[in-house]
């Protein structure tokens, strides 16, 4: 047992080291692009550091932006475990958000004790509902989820826009009415005054709890064992008597539910209404978070914080350089971290090579 631990922890440390080196490399290459627009990269990076790490408000904004990214990152990572590529997190999040807000202003008479769980459950089920269509199509007909989930994204946007525009918008606005106060989740600045002004809220704790649940589900339960087996070798799983279709259906639905939950950060913790475009690509960004976090819940927290920080960084350096620089940095991080991980895999595979 001790041997096993030391071996895995060594691999773990190498992994972290290489990932950090890859991030450093992406900032070095990013400096080149900053030079191209005629600005000193060091001053940009210092500004980023100052605005995100040294400034409590920046820190809070990073947490706020990271919260939904953790959830969509988990959603996509869960799918990856069973070889499902759920690109529909965006649409699932939008539908989850709509259901969440609708419950919040429709059942406005309920006390917080009932309304908060109801809204959270609604966000989850909204995501489940939206994932159900591609999930059922996949296990029944073999329709590839990459195609179907992308289409479901468009339908989700169009449908919620229609509902808001024709039935639910407040006059002169493009958003719904506010939810009942009972569905408001407390902001962190209530407890930490330095976070004043940031909408960072307790949904963060929900996200972290989901990471723990994800870890337990994947590594400790028979369901997780089956899911990993399906992802690694579906025919061996099937031969061994694992019901692949049922597992894929279930995994896809949970993945959709996690995406739906990502909406709670905005709806219950920030604006308290549903608004067109509130998801801001968080569903797609979740793919990058899952990849950089290597489908590991703790890696996902790290990756979500990184992308959350960069996302807030757009505002921090706005005065110095065009905000596209941040997008270039994000792309470089994804590129370098994923390449570095492939290199590690290749290297360890060479060490383990079959010596027949």
């Amino acid at each position: 047992m001790t041997m096993k631990l030391s071996k895995t922890s060594k691999g773990f440390l190498i992994n972290i080291g290489v990932t950090l080196a890859a991030i450093l490399a992406s900032f070095i290459v990013g400096a080149f692009f900053i030079l191209l627009v005629g600005v000193n990269p060091l001053s940009v990076y210092w500004k980023l550091f100052e605005g995100i790490v040294l400034n409590p408000y920046g820190l809070a904004q990073t947490l706020f932006k990271a919260t939904p990214l953790i959830m969509t990152g988990l959603a996509i990572a869960l799918g990856f475990k069973a070889n499902i590529f759920n690109i529909g997190a965006e649409g699932q999040m939008v539908v989850g958000g709509f259901v969440c807000a609708w419950l919040g202003f429709t059942f406005s008479g309920l006390p917080a004790f009932f309304l908060v769980p109801l809204c959270i459950l609604g966000a989850f089920l909204g995501g489940v509902l939206w994932a159900a269509v591609p999930a059922i199509l996949k296990v029944r007909t073999g329709a590839h989820e990459v195609i179907t989930t992308i289409m479901m994204n468009f339908i989700a946007l169009a449908l919620t826009n229609y509902l808001v525009t024709y039935f639910f918008h407040l006059p002169e606005t493009v958003h719904t009415q506010l939810t009942s106060q009972a569905a408001f989740l407390p902001r962190l600045d209530q407890y930490i005054s330095a976070f004043k002004g940031s909408p960072a809220n307790v949904t963060l704790f929900l996200a972290v709890a989901l990471c723990a649940a994800f870890w337990w589900l994947i590594w400790k339960t028979p369901y997780g064992y089956e899911t990993r087996a399906i992802g690694l070798n579906p025919s061996a799983a099937e031969t061994g008597g694992i019901n692949i279709r049922r597992n894929i259906l279930l995994t896809f639905l949970i993945s959709g539910g996690l995406s739906g939950l990502a909406a709670t950060n905005f709806i219950m913790g920030y604006k308290h209404y549903f608004e067109e475009g509130f998801s801001q690509g968080v569903g797609f960004m979740g793919i990058a978070v899952a990849l950089v976090g290597q489908n590991n819940p703790f890696g996902i927290i790290f990756a979500a914080l990184l992308f959350g920080a960069l996302s807030h960084g757009t505002l921090v350096i706005n005065a110095l350089v065009p905000k596209d620089i941040i997008q270039i940095l994000q792309a470089l991080v994804i590129f370098f971290v994923i390449s570095a991980n492939l290199l590690i895999k290749k290297y360890t595979a060479k060490l383990n090579e079959d010596r027949s």
Partner: protein
């Protein structure tokens, strides 16, 4: 005489490490010009590594390589090809959508008029080589339409086109049917008579004796002996490979007719019809009956309905018509699943351990419970009991001699024989009443074959019925109490133990009359 002789290949003192583990340790190899030389050893003995060094795919940590008496350094396969060394890998590397001739010239295309590819010239040269070495291929055939045997001949043709004088063949017969193997032997002899030097990597000792002039035996990365085939026997070579005497024919008493008649029926298959995945008729009214405590062997060329039969019996497939009574229960195919079949007392050792038997990226322990992970001994609804899994897997690894005995290792890191032992351990420890076994010793070394055969007999002796499907006729004959031959989805004859020989089975397998 011996000292002045030049060898086509001379490797000495070759050492190669991966991580901290020696794949080759002071290994040597000498091959005379124009001879057929066999390189034998168990899985993991370092044969393939040594050959990959000779082919320039790995660079040795130490050691000398001489080709035709000249010391050389090989940086890549390109260097080896320039020295007229060619290698046919165990897994073929062909472009399925191109023709035979196009595959042959790929990478070294003949050119005419300075820039356009000379298709006619490519075909002509391919045809010439096919005739010279009697390879029986059509230069214009699409590779996707070739049989496995034909693909292999195409791989040989490719390296002949590159003017190889030294041919290395890695486990060439592992994928061939008995008939194809015969023809393959003829080709190798033809190559040798044309002056080519051939190195065969294998662990099938019968082939070594039939084909080679001399043999190098490897064990644990080192060369343990180089002997002339003329003085060797199967058991002398096996002893060198394993390091101890090996039993080929496992001790067992075949069931007599009277015993079988008295015994209860464990499996009864009637008029089974089924389609293959591609939509062809795969089973055409197959019937068979297996008694408790009997091993029923099915011989046959692959693709005659064996896979479909197994899939039906393990709940992976539904037949078109017919019935199966298993352990006294009439199987309801509309509600069938592998899970139900396992629960009713069957166990299944699938033909392809990499594809169906194991999750290579799972640990040995995780693989030992695959399909059994929902049993109350290993898990509740909400959590797997990793303590009991560890205890169970440590015991299974001990009982079945899984080496190394570290159940936390990735299954993919073990040798083929030990991987197969994982599958055997998992399935037999279910204590099944009906065992379905397919190709249990394919790609497995002699020591493990002996062990797996013993375990199958032990299971039979406990009263389990065994359905054994194998392409190895010697395996079928040495284990089965009764033998059936499957041909085009039907049984073309059933024989008692000792009533039939390899020759006769071979004929029936090809659709002939016994």
């Amino acid at each position: 005489m011996e000292t002045t002789e030049t060898f086509a290949i001379e490797l000495s003192g070759v050492t190669k490490r991966f991580g901290g583990i020696y794949a080759n340790k002071d290994a040597s190899l000498k091959v005379r010009k124009g001879e057929i030389h066999a390189l034998v050893g168990e899985n993991g003995a370092g044969k393939s590594t040594l050959m990959k060094i000779l082919y320039g795919m790995y660079r040795p940590d130490a050691g000398e390589i001489k080709v035709n008496g000249r010391a050389v350094t090989l940086k890549s396969p390109k260097d080896a090809i320039d020295l007229r060394i060619g290698m046919v890998h165990q897994y073929f590397m062909l472009v399925k959508t191109l023709t035979v001739a196009e595959n042959v010239v790929l990478g070294e295309e003949p050119v005419k008029n300075g820039f356009s590819m000379d298709y006619a010239g490519a075909r002509e040269e391919t045809r010439r080589l096919i005739e010279k070495f009697n390879l029986l291929l059509d230069p214009d055939a699409l590779v996707s339409n070739l049989s496995v045997g034909e693909e292999q001949r195409l791989e040989i043709l490719k390296i002949l086109y590159r003017k190889a004088d030294i041919l290395i063949l890695d486990e060439p017969t592992a994928v061939l049917t008995p008939q194809e193997i015969k023809y393959f032997f003829d080709i190798i002899r033809k190559l040798s008579s044309e002056g080519k030097t051939v190195v065969l990597i294998t662990h099938k000792l019968k082939e070594v004796l039939a084909l080679s002039g001399s043999v190098t035996v490897m064990r644990q990365g080192a060369t343990v002996a180089r002997v002339e085939t003329a003085g060797a026997t199967e058991s002398s070579l096996a002893q060198l490979m394993v390091g101890r005497p090996v039993v080929f024919q496992v001790e067992r008493a075949p069931r007599t007719k009277e015993e079988l008649e008295k015994s209860d029926t464990a499996l009864s298959v009637r008029e089974l019809k089924a389609m293959s995945a591609k939509g062809h008729a795969a089973l055409n009214g197959l019937s068979l009956e297996i008694k408790k405590g009997e091993i029923f062997g099915i011989a046959g060329v692959e693709g005659n309905g064996q896979s479909e039969l197994i899939e039906i019996l393990t709940g992976l497939k539904r037949p078109v018509s017919g019935s199966v009574v298993m352990l006294g229960k009439d199987i309801d195919f509309s509600r069938n699943s592998p899970r139900r079949m396992f629960d009713s007392g069957i166990a299944h050792i699938p033909e392809d351990r990499h594809k169906k038997g194991l999750v290579l990226d799972y640990s040995v322990a995780e693989n030992l419970i695959l399909g059994r992970h929902r049993e109350p001994a290993f898990s509740t609804m909400t959590a797997i009991d990793f303590k009991s899994v560890a205890a169970f897997s440590a015991k299974a690894a001990g009982d079945y001699g899984i080496y190394p005995p570290r159940t936390d290792l990735r299954a993919g890191a073990l040798s083929g024989g030990n991987q197969q032992k994982i599958v055997v351990a998992r399935e037999l420890s279910r204590e099944p009443r009906l065992l379905i076994v397919s190709q249990p010793t394919r790609g497995v070394d002699v020591g493990a074959i002996e062990f797996i055969h013993k375990k199958i007999i032990e299971t039979r002796d406990l009263g389990c019925a065994v359905l054994l499907i194998s392409a190895e006729l010697s395996e079928i004959l040495s284990l089965s109490d009764r033998v059936g031959v499957i041909y085009r989805g039907q049984l073309a004859g059933v024989f008692g133990a000792g009533e039939v020989g390899e020759e006769q089975l071979g004929l029936l397998m090809m659709g002939g009359k016994a």
